[in-house]
Symmetry: D2
Subunit: 337 residues, 4 copies
């Protein structure tokens, strides 16, 4: 950390900053210029809280030299973290596709979806039993009944199950049925949920918050890693911008950046990332081309009758087309679906 | 709701839309133009889920005529909801200021802060016992010990206590000590927490999410209202934009809009809304001038030593100045601090 | 256009709206519901100005049924507009890459760049003689000297030249030397420049503004089209968001949307779209995979010595790698570089 | 400027950075840590171009110690710049209101508006003769005829005239009639227009671009200042965000920040900043309370009949109310309207 003091900063302020750093067990490197004093923190592995320093009168700017996240960084863990759950493999050479309906609606709907996405090449099943809905009067999911159906679909197809966890109270129940716990964009900074989910030891699919920076995203992962759980699948699912032709702006450049600074696998969600079924296939191609480790895609036997997110769901034929289109792209960048 | 079908939309699609609306118990008004068919929904008080309709092939656009929130709307409840908790009064003619440290750090710090903000005109005490921190290695709050200190400060000063609730598991504990449960920006769409907090019947201070639209904000309030709890204090605390000179962009125009469309009181948080103590006083003046029902302000006996959010905290002298400056502004718009 | 009146709107307001529409030579379809009156505009091909209607007291909402742009829409011109300039071909099956330095700096630099990008597969040369610089004290370009060098490089390589036009005063000069006039993101709504450039009849590369919506982008193109010039190459170059790991957020989903609603070709600029040379290759792959008609890429003989935009420029080796990587991706989606 | 090199950066890279700095005539301060080398630039008054440095392999981060703008900074010119044009005074103790129609539509409309805004307290007249319209088919202004009418209105009322300049070609013409040249948000980075307008020596009202940072805004002003013209009125007119209840998000916190870092006066435009006439009065109160030096407000004899921006225009009665409400607010913060 490098601290730039204001032009007129006095000895009191400079000493207060130095004292704070030394109290944290770190050393300083002082550089007094003609106009400004600059204070470098030596050995900031554990990082003093920048806000504590910034609060001192006379501090003008602070620059971080090392990232705030540690266990999530590639410096800490140079090799890719690879997550293998049955046929699902993320972080290695394989590109994996997770597919299924937005919400579990019925036994028929789910089994039909599971069998067909498997047939078409998906290696894991998604489906929500608890649905975070903006509107309290919308369908909120089948809860435990939905989880049971997911488990049944796993039995029937062999596909591991990815499903959203919305509440600490449900962790035990969801962990009993699910293979991967999903933490949604709206809960990315629900820190208690992150900690508690992390403690289950289960793999966690963590979606990026709608207005989350790269550092916030990796610090959310750090909450899970700090519990000793490194089975984390990051997921870019679109950010909120002024754009109005799609539900979100899928920020694909985050993928190669994450691959560079972190060892965790990252996938893309073109369904939520666009909100439009006609954009799911082209953005899936782009996500694979940019280097994503996989996709999570909404597929419904009959999107026109879906209770949730029909406008962004693919039918089986479209999903088959998606799989057909991404395979050669994966191949030309040296990967395999 | 008005549904515009695409140019080439056929009878199958039109009938599918009509069927969905009728299934929801509503009537349609069909208008077949030369190029497009337009379907109006009659009696959409309970509103069909727009996504269900949008998923039908051939639907081009949907326009909502009525808002998605109901109990939060002024149509539903024409008079202002007024919340009175001891000296704190929001939604009426009075402008109330809630003040205190970001985090409860110690008995001395809290009591000192409480006595001084009271002396200077605050009518409620804020202070976090559970702190949502971006970084898992930052100070996370004193937990129940912090709540006990808050209760002690209430005893000592008579100020009602506003404190953040981060987890469903803690509701009982927090509700035992607090007068107002705060739900932070990061949890604005933690729907389980909204429901559970709503059911306590306690007044709730609901902060707007960092990238939340007006409708999403009021639908979050609707989750609480749907539990039969209308003791809700809305709070604008800044949105995330590309701006880089302040931590957030305090969007004050939301205040008069909320006063127009909703009956709920709305206050502003100039501390989080700017992240800079030098902007807190001018933005407080602006918030009162625009018509906010109150403020929530971070005040610390010694911001330079604060464990959390020091850079945006005022000391007592600055808070006294703030109170002095907002009083005449409240007066000229016919209100009273 | 569909106009929804407020609940209490009276006859005066309704009649005023109807009068405005009829004055514009259009017909209305009136639908009086129990609570609200809804007015449909029939035959809105030329579209009344929505603002004129919105200004009437009692108007609550307006929904557009048809787009505001006409000549830019695929409805107006169902087939792709194909632009052919020597080896450069955009809008057909071919994927074309435009490459070269950000700014023309010297004869050696430019000729070296031109020869090498040609050798590696580029079909047009980019290079700025006039540079829009945020800082008035930064290098502003070589002006006419730069244009002369571009013409010389075209002579030497056969590559058509794309260069930025910043001022109406320079149109004649720039048009004399350039094959394609580029209008930069900062000038996307410099309407006079759009008109004047359009009148030259020269092909125009129009970059999307940093905070421009889809409709604003196509309406900017419409300014050019309205001059009788349909030789327009649209270019997505990144939008401004809260993201901080890259200079801009390259919004690739706009590509398939533009291909759907418009007949104009669209390319991507991964150099400005990310601002980081390490992201240019992966985002180029993604842009081709999503369906862009081409790329415009910054390539410099020695990026470390570039006067402008060095951090986002590729060297020849990297550009060769880019070309090598996008070819098979173009092929698998049925296109050819 | 402080440059942090990457962990593994070698001598070649470090020396290349040092060479670039020394070539620019500046000195370096080298600090070799265990892991990283940090290079400080001494005497960076004229600032090396950060991009040139960032392009060097091995550079990780750059932090600016001083701002990129100079003449616009308060360091350069500690006292407020005060602009006096007849009754209009900005930058001193007075709060000035500029008012008038969005566009000049006719002699009657303009004279009626001018006389009434004067009667109600405005000290300058606004009105567009050239209108930057998103849609090429919308009314584009009366051009020179409009300028003549503005001059006539000045004769009739004594109010100085503020009007928009859209093109370098029109500078002479506009400068002949106008007292203040307005450069609109869409042209904030039309650098040629900034330079040419600056050279007229006329006062310039510079609106902040829709997605412009503070530094970009002040660097745009710097383009004008670099021509020797310091008669600049900055104007916050709303930024583009995801918010959808208003046309823009009026970012009032920029006002106290500008007052701190710059000597130039800053006013607010609540009309464009909200796009809704019902928000103009409350946001005007807030703008004055936050410390703006003035307002620019759209007022039309009959907003329902306005050709441009009717929805955000006030009628005379509303404008009278606005003036009545801001006066006591100005007074309580020690200023005078």
């Amino acid at each position: 950390m490098i601290i730039v003091m204001q032009k007129g900063a006095g000895e009191r302020e400079i000493n207060l900053v130095i004292e704070k750093i030394k109290t944290a067990g770190l050393d300083v490197h002082l550089s007094r210029g003609e106009e400004r004093t600059i204070i470098g923190v030596i050995g900031d592995k554990t990082r003093v809280d920048a806000d504590e320093i910034r609060a001192v009168a006379g501090v003008e700017k602070i620059m971080h030299v090392t990232a705030a996240y540690k266990r999530a960084s590639r410096d800490f863990h140079p090799d890719n973290t690879v997550i293998n759950i049955g046929p699902l493999s993320l972080g290695g050479n394989k590109v994996s596709v997770i597919a299924g309906p937005c919400a579990v609606e019925s036994r028929d709907q789910l089994l039909d979806a599971a069998r067909n996405v498997k047939r078409l090449g998906a290696v894991a099943l998604r489906g929500g039993a608890f649905k975070p809905r903006t509107n309290p009067y919308s369908f909120q999911g089948l809860a435990e009944k939905g989880l049971e159906l997911l488990a049944e679909a796993r039995e029937a197809t062999g596909l591991p199950v990815v499903t959203e966890l919305m509440s600490e109270k449900d962790i035990e129940m969801v962990a009993k049925y699910a293979d991967v716990l999903q933490i949604g964009a709206r809960n990315m900074q629900n820190f208690i949920l992150l900690k508690d989910a992390g403690q289950t030891g289960k793999p966690i699919l963590l979606k990026r918050g709608m207005s989350s920076t790269l550092e916030e995203f990796l610090l959310a992962a750090e909450y899970i890693l700090a519990q000793g759980n490194s089975q984390i699948i990051l997921c870019e699912r679109g950010i909120r911008t002024f754009e109005d032709y799609a539900r979100n702006t899928l920020a694909l450049s985050v993928v190669p950046v994450i691959k560079k600074v972190s060892h965790l696998p990252i996938i893309a969600d073109p369904s939520h990332g666009t909100g439009r079924s006609d954009l799911v296939i082209p953005m899936s191609r782009a996500a694979i081309a940019v280097g994503a480790d996989g996709l999570i895609v909404e597929v419904h036997p009959n999107p026109e009758k879906a209770l949730v997110d029909g406008p962004q769901s693919l039918n089986f034929e479209q999903f088959g087309e998606l799989m057909k289109e991404i395979k050669p792209i994966a191949k030309v960048i040296g990967r395999e679906v």
